[in-house]
């Protein structure tokens, strides 16, 4: 055992010697005295590009190859080769001049690097093979970045090798004391966590809005925010650490793929928000195609991985440029959402610049440069959420305005319709009124023609012929006046009250009966309401009964008249009987009998019937009226 150790020691010294010879030009980095601030390692690296990717660790240690390392690199920020097909070897010479053993941590701040191999020749530490294409468990120190602990014994030096093979090579490398790294690590995770907290809150909130408002534009926002958060997680190594520690292939393509998805979601989101289909129909077609391409682009990885990695960034930038231009155009056109988008793009630009500045290493890292991407992304997310909220507000206000407008127009239309209806109603009523007037006129004309008119004409002829004495003329005129009074009474509304009608008749005829010395017996009883007693029908009844009275007075020479009412099933019976001399109905009708015929006619007109029962001892006149008039 001891032998082996000795042998090993010997080997180490040999290597060290060898190394010290071949690497005489390497910048040595004294690591025993360090402040809390990390040391940027880029200027201490010696770098060898291996375009063939074939060199092995043993190869780079040969003197010939070792000489090809470029040394004394200028202090020009992070080592950055961009997209490359080469592998790169990094050599770093560390020295501990102190009397104590020191532990230092080498941090490579590019968690997306596909393959990293770390070698510590001359120590018992085996080579470490890690990178984003390897499981997270391959890392010697569990951190989102690649962290390699290096231990140097007192008064010793150590050369370490780092091989990086990745589609995109940028190596922000730092050396930390373990204490200061622990502090940095804690603060860094806390800050990262708060960023993802914001994202989570925004996503949940908008998901809630999406469900509540049932509008899929929120889904686009959620998609975009989720993708950009995953992108940030991937970019900062958190995704590998927490989300997909073993998804090695996915880790390789996650970054560009998420970039495309983010672009697709946000572009579609802005397309909807800015309503480009109507505002810029031609550009809208372009945007639509861009969204389709961005969504399908990750498939190109299956065809050609280098193409996928190389074209990815330009395609993304094309999208950003396109949507920036559209946003500015729409902002000039005073679209409210566009203001937010322009601002979001400015923030995006600023955060990009800040990130680039950080990468260049020309500026001291500050909180803002360090977390520029997260801050920018969070602010952007908030701005887009504001745009959504503002849009919601606008829609709501417009909806309220619309409702108000609709109400106003409804009211207007209602008023117009009302006016129309009332005009129609007025017209109809006028027509109705005219028809009613015309009917009444006809009725009165008919009545005057049958009664008053013919009586007056008879009187006139008689007076002209000198056939009538003064008394007869007086009687005729009195008849005429009675006729008139009954006609006027008939125009009063009697409200279905037949008795009131009979009462009126009695009231009018009483003076005549009295002067003729006739005793009237009023034997009326209960009579149901007759709802068909219009003025016209009332006059018919009055005339029928008036004629009956006239006959009793003039022709029958009665001394007593009985008036009675009775109810017979669905009819009301009015009976006027007298004790005068009777008459033969047939004969009376045959010999003129205008009055009788009028009674028949009028009874028919109101749906009633008349009949007589006459004997030598008197006459019964019956008028049968229906309670309900059949039309």
């Amino acid at each position: 055992m001891k032998k082996i150790t000795l042998l090993t020691h010997f080997f180490v010294y040999w290597v060290l010697l060898h190394a010290s010879c071949s690497m005489a030009a390497d910048k040595r980095l004294e690591i025993s005295e360090m402040s809390q601030m990390p040391i940027n390692l880029s200027q201490y690296f010696s770098i060898l590009e291996d375009p063939s990717q074939q060199l092995s660790f043993a190869d780079v240690q040969t003197e010939a190859t070792a000489r090809r390392f470029k040394t004394n690199l200028p202090d020009s920020g992070d080592v950055n080769y961009g997209h490359t097909d080469s592998a790169y070897w990094f050599r770093l010479h560390l020295v501990n001049t102190s009397d104590t053993k020191v532990l230092r941590l080498v941090e490579i701040g590019s968690p997306w690097l596909n393959n990293l191999d770390f070698y510590q020749p001359g120590t018992s530490n085996p080579p470490i093979a890690t990178g984003s294409s390897k499981p997270f468990s391959s890392r010697p120190y569990k951190n989102r970045n690649f962290v390699f602990p290096v231990t140097l014994a007192a008064h010793s030096d150590q050369v370490v090798f780092l091989r990086i093979q990745s589609s995109n090579v940028r190596v922000p490398a730092k050396l930390w004391t373990s204490e200061s790294f622990r502090v940095y690590e804690r603060n860094n995770y806390l800050t990262q966590g708060s960023y993802f907290g914001i994202v989570l809150a925004m996503v949940l909130f908008n998901l809630f809005l999406c469900v509540t408002l049932r509008e899929n534009v929120y889904l686009l926002y959620i998609g975009g925010a989720t993708c950009i958060a995953l992108l940030a997680a991937e970019q900062h190594g958190l995704a590998e650490e927490f989300l997909w520690p073993d998804a090695t292939l996915w880790s390789t393509v996650a970054l560009p793929t998420l970039g495309f998805f983010t672009a697709a979601f946000y572009t579609q989101f802005m397309r909807r928000m800015l309503n480009t289909a109507q505002v810029l129909p031609k550009v809208d077609i372009l945007i639509k195609w861009y969204v389709v391409i961005a969504l399908l682009f990750p498939l190109t990885f299956a065809i050609s991985a280098p193409f996928f990695f190389k074209i990815g960034i330009p395609v993304t930038f094309m999208g950003v440029a396109l949507m920036s231009a559209v946003s500015i155009y729409c902002a000039i056109k005073r679209q409210r959402s566009a203001y937010y988008f322009v601002l979001a793009f400015v923030i995006l630009g600023l955060s990009s610049v800040a990130t680039l500045v950080q990468f260049s290493g020309r500026m001291e890292n500050s909180f803002f440069t360090e977390y520029a991407v997260q801050i920018g992304s969070a602010v952007e997310m908030l701005l887009l959420a504001f745009a959504l909220a503002d849009r919601f507000n606008c829609i709501r206000r417009k909806a309220i305005d619309d409702v108000r407008e609709v109400n106003a127009s409804l009211e207007h239309r209602l008023l117009a319709r009302e006016a129309e209806l009332s005009a129609t109603h007025l017209r109809l009523r006028e027509v109705e009124q005219r028809a009613l007037l015309s009917r009444e006129r006809q009725r009165m004309t008919q009545d005057m023609h049958d009664g008053l008119g013919s009586s007056l004409v008879t009187a006139l002829r008689a007076v002209e012929g000198g056939q009538l004495d003064e008394n007869a003329v007086t009687n005729i005129l009195r008849d005429c006046i009675d006729d008139l009074k009954l006609a006027i009474d008939s125009m009063e509304v009697v409200d279905a009250d037949l008795l009131l009608l009979l009462a009126t008749l009695r009231f009018r005829l009483a003076p005549r009966l009295e002067s003729a010395g006739i005793k009237l017996h009023w034997e009326i009883g209960y009579v149901p309401e007759l709802n068909w007693l219009t003025p016209g029908n009332s006059l018919h009844i009055l005339r029928i009964l008036q004629e009956a009275f006239t006959n009793a007075v003039k022709h029958a020479s009665a001394t007593e008249i009985h008036v009675s009412t009775a109810v017979e099933s669905d009819n009301v019976l009015v009976t006027i009987s007298n004790n005068g001399k009777g008459f033969d109905l047939e004969k009376a009708l045959a010999s003129g009998g205008k009055g009788l015929r009028n009674q028949f006619r009028r009874a028919e007109a109101i749906g009633g019937t008349v009949h007589w029962q006459s004997s030598l001892s008197g006459t019964y006149f019956n008028l049968l009226l229906p309670v309900v008039q059949k039309v």
Binding site: R478, I481, L484, K485, I488, D489, E492, V494, D495, D497, L499, L500, L502, A503, T504, L505, R506, F507, A510, P511, S515, W522, I524
Partner: protein, 247 residues
Amino acid sequence: MSELLDLPLIQVVDLPFIHVVLVEDDIAFQKAFRAAISLAPDMHLVTVASNRAQALQALEGAPADILVVDLGLPDGSGIDVIRAAQIAWPSCSIMVSTTFGDEMHVIGSIEAGASGYLLKDSSPKALTDEIRCLHGGGSPISPLIARHILMRFRPDNSAAASANQPIQSQAQIDLAAEQTTITSLSVRERQVLDLITKGFTYEEIANLMAISRNTVMTFVRRIYSKLEVKSKAEAIYEARVQGLLGK
């Protein structure tokens, strides 16, 4: 002629003259009226006014017992004359002379203060009978007018009218209460009117209700004055509601 002149002298001893004033523009009716009165030994035609102006002037003179007014005067409505007479001659009985005795004319006159009406085609005897009857405290009534008054005094009528006024001041409530007490019909008055609408005569009603004919006639007179009071109260009420009068 001498007979006619003698008769009043005899009557004067027993009864005072019924002083009659006629307001009428129709010369023919004036003549007929004069003739009818001259036949009545107990009546004296004080003045005949041919128009509204003359009638109002006549009201400044000594009060008559009976004022007969035609509504259609050449210079205005007889209603004005009736109203003025109500104030100038409170004790005078006013009757409106009308051709048909129709509801419209008669109700309007009774509301103005008339307590009877005279049909122009009445025989001279009927004419003087009516005047005498009115002077004696009775009033004529037709079934249609009776029904009209019954409708006007229907108990739910005034209640409905006041219920239709959502805001009632104390004065309005008082007025409503006053209306129901002063201007509501008694059961008997209502009964009389009801029988009249069924065609019964004063005599028949008197028999049916076991009261004298005179009582029936005074019932009718009282009903008329209630209608007058009611219509005046309603007019004031209406005016108040419409804000034509102050509180």
